[in-house]
Symmetry: D3
Subunit: 120 residues, 6 copies
């Protein structure tokens, strides 16, 4: 099942986020908190912000961050065409070393779409 | 004159882009060409694309790229508030090492606004 | 079988490259096309270009890009000694954070040599 | 068993380090040698140096380097609180793209502590 | 006067930090606030934290961040030998591309020492 | 005089390298020593190694390292066409954020050629 990669990512992410929150380091907790705030609608809407997070994550070549923002982009109602256009800018700006991350992003997006379609 | 930093950047950029184009390396010319195409409106509008270019440039900490996209963002009609909100995401994702570039981005944005206001 | 890592990499790469090409984003397709052109012989020969691609990939710490260029270097007839000398420069320039990628590069090179020796 | 990730990392690391040493590239061998020397006590004590290695590895987002320095930090007698405080600085300086590495660092630290507690 | 580089850096930094604070973006202000909190003594003392900030800044090759942490390291009472030992680890981990930043760090440290000696 | 940028770079580099060598940190001195050794002819010739150093420096976006390797490439007898072809690979692999460094590389190469032509 290709949507296993979605569940696998989310379950590890949730488990370790819990461990981090319980550990109670004040600086880390505030950074997590800021991360939630920064992506709520403001002068820019939610969709635009998710694309910004996606492109930043992609050029910095952080697969887990890309996965997270792909899922949030899907929830925010962005289309595959919009997401890929954002990724094309990331690939141009960040260079061909971004391509392996692009491969995994395509795979993950499809898994996110399948999971959504299956009504889970 | 604070808008000198705008003129200085643009004149050096134009001079060296000319030197690069004259040199006629096919790969480099095509990358320049792609750079123009990637930021024209498509599934995403021009404003969104400029913000994506700005955020990618900021997290990769490329001052000249930031300057270029700040000017293009201004031309595309983005407000300072929208631009700063994009930069706030870049600073959160890229960390406090982005802050020196944020300082220069604030300075450059003001210079761009002043130049526009002066009718040049 | 240590050459499984070669087959595994190539089969995932081929599958996802197909998915990307079918998706038909013009910017991404042109970048893929440039990638092919840039590594054909010109003022510099194929061997030199592959070493340049390998070193660029290594200092940017992109394992998949390293794998790709190791295989292309082998096909181009570069010896292990030449490849390792290139990797030694990458490790010096890029620092000890390159070492984990160096470990995986040594492993992959050996798998590539074994696959070639087995006549596959 | 969560300490499997400790054994798995160390056994691959040891095997490939051996392969690299046998290969006998002089530059690479000297870099490995420097790596040992740089972390011995000098003007700064061992604990401080391990934290410096840990933070450098974390902001450069090198999971294997983080694992190595977590284990060395534990051996040097650093507490979890000290290690996490160092990681909180790395996350602030390096940004939220460090967070996936932070998750894996928390997991690895716990595995290191468990392995030590089990008397292995 | 070699200490001009200290004054020049601090005056630009202060001016632009003021401009950023006045602009009142909530995310950016909180990041600035976290930056102050993260470097106060906790499980780790002030000196150790400044060295962590210095090494993180150096391997990420952020000259302005290096300058800031050099000055804070001096104020915290760290000796040149301790600071250089931290920078030697940064150069080893980050590679020879760190060397240009090392040159500027040596120059800046001397300017900081001279400024302090002159009783300013 | 456009060759002033060559003299300016070399004189600052020489002055600060002297200051670093006098300071006598053993790790740093050995890294400097390795840097000299790594670029002498071995399995790969001097020209190829300089191109590897140039491309590594360019994708890591280190202007001073690029300047140094441009000059060494010129001394080693590499032509502008060969150097630019190497830089085109760096721009493709590293992305459009490399372009500002490409501009400065073109400018510096011309200054190096002029200085050589003037018989200095």
């Amino acid at each position: 099942m290709s949507n296993n990669i979605v569940e696998e990512f989310n379950s590890y992410r949730a488990k370790m986020n819990d461990a981090i929150m319980e550990d109670n380091n004040k600086i880390i907790k505030r950074i997590f908190n800021l991360d939630t705030n920064a992506f709520t609608a403001g002068a820019l809407d939610k969709k635009t912000k998710e694309l910004l997070g996606l492109v930043a994550s992609t050029v910095l070549r952080c697969d887990d961050c890309v996965k997270y923002h792909l899922e949030e982009s899907h929830k925010a109602g962005l289309s595959k065409e919009e997401v890929i256009e954002a990724l094309s800018i990331a690939t141009l700006v960040g260079g061909t070393i971004v391509i392996p991350h692009l491969r995994r992003a395509y795979e993950y997006w499809d898994a996110v779409e399948q999971e959504a379609a299956s009504g889970l």
